[in-house]
Subunit: 241 residues, 2 copies
C-alpha cells in the first residue's frame, strides 16, 4: 500500500525561481503524478502543468486563474502545496524606493502565501502539506531591509496562525510549515555575492529533496514549525525557530 | 526654556478614527502649534491642517499629497509623527473574503506605517517621536484573523527595525514606539461587543494623553518598545511586549 500522500499531486507556487525549479525537479525525480507549476514562466522543466500568471494581476485574479487552469474545482485535491515565491530588497526609512520595495516584497512573498493558504483551505487533502517561504533574518530587526523583513515577519505570523486554523486542522494530519533560509545557493546570489563562503549557503536541490520528504512523510515535520536552514561545509541542519 | 519638542508640530495619520480624533484633541488641549490631520475626512476637529486622502490612492500618491499639502519640503520639520491608522477583519484559510481582508488590513495598517516611516526618515526632528499602530494579539497566533494578525506582525517587525534604522538613529534622541491595544473603548467596539466588560477596554482619551506625554518627553518611552495596553477597572498599564 502506498503512503497516504506520496506520488500524487503537488502545486509549486514560485516554480520559476532557482528554488522553485529544484522543487519541481525533486518531485519529478520522486515520480509524483502531477506537478502543477505556478509562476510568470511559460514552462518549467519537469512540471506536468504550468500556470502562467501575469505581472500586475491582483490576488483574486491569480487565485482564480490557478483554480481554473489546475481544474481544482471538482478535480483531484492537492497532496502538497509548496510556496517558494519570494524576492529581496534592501532599504531603510529614507530610501526613495521604499514604497516600490514594499509593493515588490508583499507581492512576491505575502500575497502568494495568502493565495496558497486559501488554496490549501479549499483543496488540500487530509494529511497534506502546506509550505510557506519565511526567512531567518526575521529573528532580529532588519533596518537594512524594512520592506523585506516586515513582509517575511508577516509570513511567519501567517504560518503560526495557519497551523491552528480550523479548516486546516480539520484535515487530519495536515501540516503547515515554513522554511527560513539564511542564504540559498542560487546563481543570482553567487553573482551578487561572489566573495562570500558559498559552502555556508543552502543547496536548493537538497532543500527540495527535504520538501519532498516532508510531503511524503518519510521525514517528520512539526505543524507550525519554521525551519531555519543552517548550512556549514555543505551540510544543512533544519532547526526550528 | 521650553522642552525641546513640546508644543510644536505633530502629524497624525489616521486622524479621522476614534483614536485619531482623541489624539488630535489631546495635542490641541496641550496647545501644540500645528496639528496636521491625515485621513479620508474633510476636517478633523482641533486640527490646524487636514489632508484628505482618497480611497484607492497608492502609497506613493498618499506620501506625495502629504508632503505637498503639509508643506514639508523646506518647511518646519515634524516634532512628532503619530500613526494610528488601522482596521479590523476576521477570517481563516477558507474565508471567501480573505483577499479583500488582506488588502484592507495592509492598506489600513501596513502602508500608512511605511508612509509614516518615510516621512519620519525625511522630516522628523532630532529628539522626535514616531509612533506606529500594533496590536496585542500578535503575541499569539491569530487563526481567527489571518490578514489582521499578519499585517500587525508586519508593523511590529517594522517598529523594531526602525528603532535601529540609521537615518532615524542619526536624529539624536529620536524614539520609535508602538502601541499594542487589546481593545480600545470606541463607539464602534461598543456597538460590536455590547455585552463585554467595557472597563477592561482602553480609553482613547487616556491613551492620547500618553502619546502627547511621550511626544513632549514628560513620560519616558523606550526606543523600539511596543507598549501593550492592559486596562483593568478603567486603569491602563503600559507594558513592553
Amino acid at each position: 500500500m502506498p503512503a497516504p500522500h506520496s506520488r500524487a499531486t503537488v502545486l509549486v507556487y514560485g516554480a520559476g525561481g532557482a528554488l522553485g525549479r529544484s522543487v519541481v525537479n525533486a518531485f519529478y525525480q520522486a515520480k509524483w503524478h502531477r506537478i502543477i507549476a505556478v509562476d510568470f514562466n511559460d514552462r518549467v522543466p519537469g512540471a506536468t502543468d504550468t500556470i502562467k500568471l501575469d505581472l500586475g494581476m491582483n490576488m483574486e485574479e491569480c487565485h482564480s486563474r490557478i483554480v481554473k487552469e489546475a481544474g481544482l474545482l471538482g478535480g483531484q485535491p492537492l497532496d502538497s502545496l509548496v510556496c517558494v515565491s519570494g524576492g529581496f530588497a534592501m532599504g531603510g526609512a529614507n530610501d526613495d524606493a521604499i514604497f516600490e520595495s514594499v509593493k515588490a516584497m508583499y507581492s512576491s512573498s505575502v500575497y502568494p502565501s495568502f493565495i496558497s493558504a486559501k488554496l490549501a483551505g479549499d483543496f488540500l487533502k487530509q494529511n497534506g502539506l502546506l509550505l510557506l517561504p519565511g526567512a531567518a533574518c526575521v529573528e532580529r530587526p532588519t533596518p537594512w531591509g524594512l520592506a523585506y523583513g516586515s513582509a517575511k515577519a508577516a509570513v511567519h505570523h501567517l504560518i503560526g496562525s495557519l497551523a491552528s486554523d480550523a479548516t486546516l486542522r480539520a484535515k487530519v494530519g495536515t501540516l503547515v510549515v515554513g522554511i527560513a533560509p539564511v542564504t540559498l545557493d542560487t546563481p543570482g546570489n553567487r553573482e551578487a555575492m561572489p566573495n562570500e563562503d558559498w559552502s555556508a549557503w543552502t543547496s536548493c536541490d537538497e532543500l527540495a529533496e527535504r520538501i519532498v520528504a516532508w510531503s511524503e512523510g518519510t521525514v517528520t515535520a512539526d505543524n507550525g514549525a519554521i525551519y531555519k536552514l543552517i548550512t556549514k561545509g555543505g551540510e544543512t541542519d533544519y532547526v526550528i525557530m
